[in-house]
Symmetry: D2
Subunit: 377 residues, 4 copies
């Protein structure tokens, strides 16, 4: 259940509620929003639930106690109405700006990485991606350069100023990856690797959580809940395609997940058209489609010479294609943001009795608190 | 196989090739583009194929004879490189402009239809939709007003000037629907009703062909091929969502189909976010996403009072929501068109050795012949 | 709603209830089972429902009036608890015996059909299948011999004594196909062709209704409901695979649908491993699996020389393979039937508080009324 | 590539080939079958492949060198034609007998486990299952008793003599689970957790590898390849349902995977109708269907009082239902085995020019070497 504190509640009153929850052997998680503080109560309440609800509602400073309508709690908009904004070095994710994560599928050499990193930085990318540990379907495929690649990524950050995102594949790798990288990526095959989710939930690095290719939106949010409830509130969701009967594309990009998520959760959402489509010629239109759907950003694979790539060669853009994409993506995102901030909030739907935009996930473009959850290096 | 005529070939030479094909008991279909004429050869060639290919290649005026790489022939870009542009009354579909089909799921009464028609026309819709014959999962559900609804739709056309699209469900209905409507719609459940496809292939009305919710892109194009090879070149493809394991939305909107189709076929492609999502609050972001993906237009369900609708009440927009959507959709489409026409064509990809945009389906925004296949009433 | 008459209710009392329903502008459908008669009330009741329920419950001979828990009514087990048994010539479907429909994908010639028909009859097939009108993905593929094939099928029936099942593709074909064939097949692509469903609902021939490859079990039963509510109670359901991400097989055979259906409906269920798998070497194990799941029979494609077949050559068995399959299928079915009739009915589950077998669809193997719905030629 | 040694090749000749492969920086894996030895060559060969192939073919004792047609190598039937037979305590898996793994979803208490273990042992189960570490979609759900449960399982093994299978969720748990359990289970969510696959590949315990609910058959075999190529040849594959649009059942049980796998791999295959269907009344028919499809065994969840279960309460059988299932399963499996061993091998298909049964996966029921890969405790 959620305990909603009155706007005027004192810190002592918030503490009083948390103590009462702890005294019951339950765990309180609190979120202090601009207008009010909400405390989520987590744990097995069993039959005492109605009595407990009544008791908490009677405590000083409590405005209301409500049951939780979704299986995810801390990730829900009910718990935190305002969007989560994540700051890493100079990059800001989820504040209405355009996040562009770009870089090679795999880090193959220092030169390949630096050439790509400088190219995408010059074209406007805000975050550098690159695989060090690669989850491969075959045990005989290239498995990544490992720690060597992590060092190159850290060097590339020095040269470009771009924060670095890279995948972590098992709990025992979390520390070493967190030492070099700025954002830890959980890949699609590990979305339900609960040991790993708990492990990344315990470090001070934002996590990019890719959707499992066979996972529902709800399961995806439950995976995010594992991370957040372990102590790490900075989760970025990344739609990368689901598996369907269609064989023309590598996956089916479920862009509707973007506005659905913006309605259900406060976490930022980006889209990965490279993995979703598997074909480089489809990346630009699907990146644009993602921005149209309201995504907070895109992640694309870029390689100086895609045909020589050691992995995913068919879906990586070369640098001219990346620049060409940015030349369309940036102004379209800017205009969309202007339009949403300007007038779209005005329309009300008679059918729903509330602003059309609130429900369409446009609230991510609305008023925000001045500061996000800064994650310093 | 395709016989590509030299740009300088005379009409007599084209005729000569067609005669040679007919003499073999095969069927020639020709397309005269701005630069060249292509003749598709259809029929069972069996073992004589190589000999025939050689013979045709030697005829005067023939530039090349090529095998066909796809199972669809007349619908392919290889047969007709330039986009099909369809004109109905004042509406033009596929010329780079924004097509907006809007109206109620079902025509429920004269008043309901007129109120909606005038509302969507005022807000910028270019075509009026409305169901007269309704395919319903249950035999006990409202099955539509039938011919009465067709009459109302024709009246609404008189009042608003908007051409009318409505569904036809069986071969014996084709004549009566074609009498009243301007565009015949084939619904998702009938995408592989081959008798019906052949029947609509024989009338002088454009056809809106919805994707079967369980159909691949290739099967969808084969369904279009049934219509085109029966004599009707004016087919509009409409993505309306496919069925996946995701249950949050009614279907999963496969927007990647848009650039894929723009690469494979010359037919225009629109998207239907109402059926794809099943929830009105998702319609606006997914319409925008569709435009981002390069769609030639959108189809949305609009009802003056959605909560009173006899069918699909959860997914119909009311008029304020429709206006709100148009206020964002129109400028974004316009800017995207400008950007594409301006510079995007310049980028070349080293990896593919050809213009990035040709492959991304942007060719639909390139140079076009001045006139489309006008379909007068 | 269902009006359940007392076991002692007189014919006059049943008539009284039906009159009362008709007087309300609603339609009564009655089913006289061995123990009791049930009358389904169909039509739009709106707000008068509670009052009507009360009024009907008070009529003489009425034992109970219950709301209907499923969207399908006449096809439900609640309406008719005992299984529908269909008799066509000497074949009986749904009585606990093993139905085997076999024959070529397409009727290609008189000789090919007769050779196959005699071969499968000698090996124990109970019904002859063969395509006359073929729904093909491509307009350029072999579309079947049409009426000529229907004549061959009728001749083959004369020679072998086997009733004949063949597909009908559109409402205008129903009469001619019904003239020659004993069972009308609705193909997977037409499962939601409601005009066709209604048309076959009006003829005195059993209907084999294949599951749409993208359809849910509930939609499939709604399609059956269209046929039954149009007047034809003799529907056989045929599972033929659904579409999934798995590409190794043509479709994914959803055998769990068999016991699910046996729980939900009284209609017989057969399985088609030829279309479900698309590979002949998988037909025998999947036919056995179907029998293990409780299916009333199987439908398999057999061709004397599969490699020369004009359609589906990879999935047709040759005659030795068919005989080999029958040599395993027949004794396994017989033993399974013995086991089920003997002891399995004895086990009760504490968890469900009712016989385990009733729910597992084994009721189709229980006591049955002596006579089914005979359909004489 | 595979190097096939002549039947008469000496041990020294086999060693010679392996040395030649190692000298190239590649890895040889050899399998000594009853008739011949096959050596798989693994590693990046690049351009030297044709020359290498020629050189190896010329070595003494080599009969043939063939490229590998599948991405999985050591798991393929080409590498090892005869089936893998796994022995654990008194249980034998893959020898044509019926393996039955049964027990509770989660170990909840010593009493609950012992009651179940004794009940399923008495009814004929050959292996005891029970969850100690539970992968749960929600971080707030019961996560299993952990090591305490492992101790109970070991005790239950003492009392019943049944070997124990239980899930391991992360690399760091492998040692402790291997200390108590006889077979290590990899759950559906971890099928592509490559770190975990490699870790269980290094211990001397057979591994039960569940199919990922969104994974293709090929990916599943690649996951098995990770385990086998890490040194553990004893992998049992378990089909437990894939995710589709059908919502009536928890998953769609892909039973066709059974004969497909028997054609592609030598590893034993069992089926799990509890997770595949999610409903206890569907377990018995689908277990029978699995046996019909040729599975080497079944895995079912059994709980003394399913309604009180802490997880998966709807799909667990109670003990009477389990006994009832066994009463049908055992005799049907026995008869099927007799029929297959007796006559079915005789039929040849003209179409394929080889024994029908070889291709249907029935080869798992053919002649086998007397001893499997025994895994002593």
């Amino acid at each position: 259940m959620f305990v909603v504190m009155a706007g005027t509640a004192s810190e002592a009153e918030v503490l009083g509620v948390k103590s009462a929850i702890l005294a019951e052997g339950l765990t309180p998680y609190d979120h202090a929003g601009p207008d009010r503080t909400v405390i989520a109560v987590v744990g097995d309440m069993g039959a005492r639930k109605p009595a407990l609800l009544e008791r908490l509602a009677a405590l000083p400073g409590v405005k209301a106690v409500t049951p939780i309508g979704t299986p995810f709690k801390l990730a829900s908009r009910e718990f935190q109405p305002e969007p989560t904004i994540i700051r890493v070095l100079d990059a800001v994710i989820g504040d209405g700006g355009l996040t562009v994560m770009a870089g090679p599928c795999s880090v193959e050499s220092r030169d390949q990485l630096f050439e790509t990193a400088e190219g995408v930085a010059a074209a406007g990318a805000t975050i550098l991606r690159g695989g060090a540990f690669k989850p491969r379907t075959s045990p005989y495929s290239f498995q990544g350069l490992g720690v060597e690649a992590l060092r190159y990524l850290a060097e590339a950050r020095e040269r470009t100023g771009l924060p670095v995102v890279t995948e972590v594949m098992e709990p025992s790798q979390v520390d070493i990856v967190a030492e070099y990288a700025d954002i830890l990526q959980i890949g699609t095959r590990n979305m339900q690797n609960y040991s790993l989710l708990t492990a990344v939930g315990r470090v001070a690095r934002p996590v990019l959580l890719k959707r499992g290719y066979g996972a529902t939106i709800e399961e995806w949010l439950m995976a995010a809940e594992y991370i957040v409830s372990s102590g790490n509130p900075n989760v970025i969701l990344c739609e990368r395609g689901i598996r369907t009967f269609e064989t023309y594309t590598r996956n089916t990009m479920d862009l509707t997940a973007v506005p659905v998520l913006h309605g259900l959760t406060h976490l930022p959402v980006i889209v990965d058209p490279s993995h979703a489509t598997g074909k480089r010629r489809l990346v630009q239109p699907m990146a644009l489609a993602g921005i149209g759907a309201g995504a907070d950003g895109v992640m694309v694979e870029v390689h100086p010479r895609p045909d020589e790539a050691l992995s995913d060669s068919e879906q990586q853009l070369d640098l001219p294609m990346f620049r060409s994409m940015m030349a369309v993506l940036v102004p379209i995102h800017a205009q969309l943001r202007r339009l949403r901030e300007a007038g779209a909030g005005a329309a009300r739907t008679a059918a729903e009795g509330r602003p059309a935009t609130a429900a369409t996930g446009d609230s991510t473009f609305g008023d925000r608190p001045p500061a996000g959850a800064a994650v310093p290096r």
